[in-house]
Symmetry: C2
Subunit: 405 residues, 2 copies
């Protein structure tokens, strides 16, 4: 078989071997444990080729043998599984009010999950980079002490990221045109693993697409609450990044030109109703007197704790839910996703947001059954960082294999 | 090489030959004329395989030899080109006020381009199907009289289309849950060619992506004016269809909740400002007295003719342009396309719409250079029908080859 539809050039032989190594690795991930004969039967590769590929993956420490199969006809076969020990992938989420770090092994099992308060807007570019790099360094030291080798680090940023890992703008961090990846590479002293910077909503969408309850859904939107609001879009099974990586900017979708003033200078943007500063201002009007908020986690907890009995809080959340529903109906009309997943800060507040979201979407539908399901993320708060770590595994499965030791 | 990233199953041998036939056909399309040796060099297939594949394509009448190459070192080689004569692909656009039919040959050259007035909303489902089938039948008869064989017919509908060619709803035609493809198959007496029903904005986007001045742009949105307004979205080089084929519904994007009443019952939708009924109502307020409009083409011509000197017309178009600009900024924020192409009824009115569109998009950008270019389609009014015809060629290049005569 030469090439694939849309390409007229066949791959060269080195590419073929890389592709086949990745096919075998992917097969073992999804069908662990399995034998060399299972792999040959499922992939159509001949047994000699499979043996050679498996030997390579064993040598790289990506697979290991787990003993012999039982209940099989014929000669007992050595069973293969992913090698959980020696590798790790790391994701770090930079949010406006905190940093989160997650490390996973090859099978996606979580090795560590840390959270640190982080004065995003208050920190200048240099100090913010240093804080991210310091956290990455501590994670790396911990994993290295466990004799793990790091496959890759992905940093998730709430903003527009260029293909070379620069941050074009991240208003909630006060960043613009920041060469984050090169800066991290310098601070981490040019580590032997890949460092990648990506958008946080994209990574949230990838995390849902990879390991949420609706994993594998080809058309899925993750709508992520926080200081800002943004969307990660999966269409036809692939992330929609846009021409310059700027897709999913839903925070300044103007819902009502006569609505409340937004930080951007216009009125009635989604963030002016459903961003955390707006939510806290309307739900907890006494809070501002205590001075500026640097970490929203306690305020989210307070809203969740009060909502059942406090009409101001529940009313503010229902109003935010209606506005989120309006935005979901726009996303649904334009993209027709099967599932819209509410995540980030929307998750702990979902019991009070979701009924209003659903009612508004239903009221706005211009045709029956026009909108897919709206669900609340069941992934934990480290999901974006974990999605970043998973991206390093995706690169592995796409053929970016580590060398032999 | 086995499989492609994302699939663990290699293709079987019949698939390999089909794929390779399509690769050769695609190479000749893009590098005509070329020799068998050129094809072998470019695709990596060996010369014996290329000779066998070319023989097959010559026998099917898809390629022909055009004589010997000059200015070549070594033995003169027979040059191959697409066989323009015996095949044709047909596209029919069903609009609210007209039907358009286009037929093209293998090289994409237009064989015929027809337009008929069509009382879309006034026709009941059965009569509308009959009108579409009658036009298809006349096109087929004309092509058959030229001794051409029809490869496929694509029907473009302004509405939501299911995977099996049913129309879920097409409000501007008054259609809902209409099994259009089966009905057309019956009326056309189960023709030997494929009949496919698709959304008109999707086909417009494919036409721009295939043959517009920005052909090949991976992230492109076609915003199509008419009685309704809809968008065709190409992201990462692929059409975004959504889960149920309902993507691109931008007509009822609510721009201002206190705006003019829309046909859908809400206020301030894009269509209530920039759909043809709204445009005619504001630009040509005397027109309604003449009775209901069944074909908007004369009114579009009148607006274009009057706009230079008539402040009511130019003011109405500028206001519509501002609202279109608002919608474009939403599309840009969510999808980050490199190019937004204004097409359909927006094309002839573009000189008066575009300045307002651009000013509004610029005013709404929340970051510098946030929005891709906004351009006016240079494709002719038959472009959607031609896009439908081109889809039949795409199916050919994807390996759906006609049999030998």
């Amino acid at each position: 078989m030469i090439g694939t539809p849309g390409t007229a050039q066949p791959a060269d032989l080195a590419d073929v071997r890389t592709t086949n190594l990745a096919v075998v690795l992917r097969h073992v991930r999804h069908h662990t444990p399995c034998s060399r004969a299972d792999i040959a039967a499922a992939t159509g590769l001949n047994k000699a080729t499979v043996s050679s590929l498996v030997a390579d993956l064993l040598e790289r420490g990506l697979l290991r043998e787990t003993g012999m199969a039982e209940n099989r006809i014929g000669r007992p076969a050595a069973m293969l599984t992913l090698h959980g020990r020696p590798y790790a992938a790391v994701g770090i989420q930079v949010a406006a009010d905190h940093l989160a770090a997650v490390a996973i092994d090859l099978a996606g099992e979580r090795l560590l999950s840390w959270r640190r308060a982080f004065p995003g807007l208050a920190a200048t570019g240099g100090r913010a980079e240093a804080a991210v790099a310091a956290l990455a360094g501590r994670v790396a030291a911990k994993l290295t002490a466990q004799e793990r080798r790091i496959l890759g680090l992905t940093v998730a940023v709430p903003g527009a990221v260029t293909g070379t890992g620069g941050v074009r703008f991240a208003p909630h961090l006060g960043w613009s045109d920041l060469d984050l990846r090169p800066a991290l590479m310098r601070t981490l002293r040019h580590p032997p693993y890949d460092v990648v910077v990506d958008n946080d909503a994209n990574l949230a969408a990838l995390a849902e697409h990879r390991s949420g309850p609706h994993a594998g859904t080809p058309d899925l939107v993750a709508l992520i609450g926080g200081v800002g609001v943004s969307a990660g879009i999966v269409a036809g099974g692939r992330l929609v990044r846009g021409d310059r990586g700027l897709s999913g900017q839903v925070g300044h979708l103007q819902l009502d030109p006569s609505g409340p003033l937004c930080r951007c200078g216009r009125r009635g943007c989604l963030e002016a109703y459903a961003g955390l500063p707006a939510l806290v201002r309307t739900a907890l009007p006494d809070t501002e007197a205590d001075g500026p908020i640097t970490d929203y986690a306690p305020e989210i907890d307070r809203m969740a704790a009060l909502a059942a009995g406090d009409a101001t809080v529940s009313g503010a959340l229902a109003e935010a839910g209606r506005r989120i529903g309006h935005a979901v109906s726009v996303l649904a009309d334009l993209l027709d996703p099967r599932v819209v997943v509410l995540g980030g800060a929307f998750t702990p507040l979902a019991p009070w947001l979701l009924p209003a979201v659903e009612a508004e979407v239903k009221a706005r539908a211009t045709a029956p059954e026009q909108t897919g399901r709206i669900v609340v993320s069941t992934l934990d708060p480290g999901a974006v960082a974990a999605g970043g770590a998973a991206l390093a595994l995706d690169r592995l499965e796409a053929g970016h294999l580590p060398g032999c030791d």
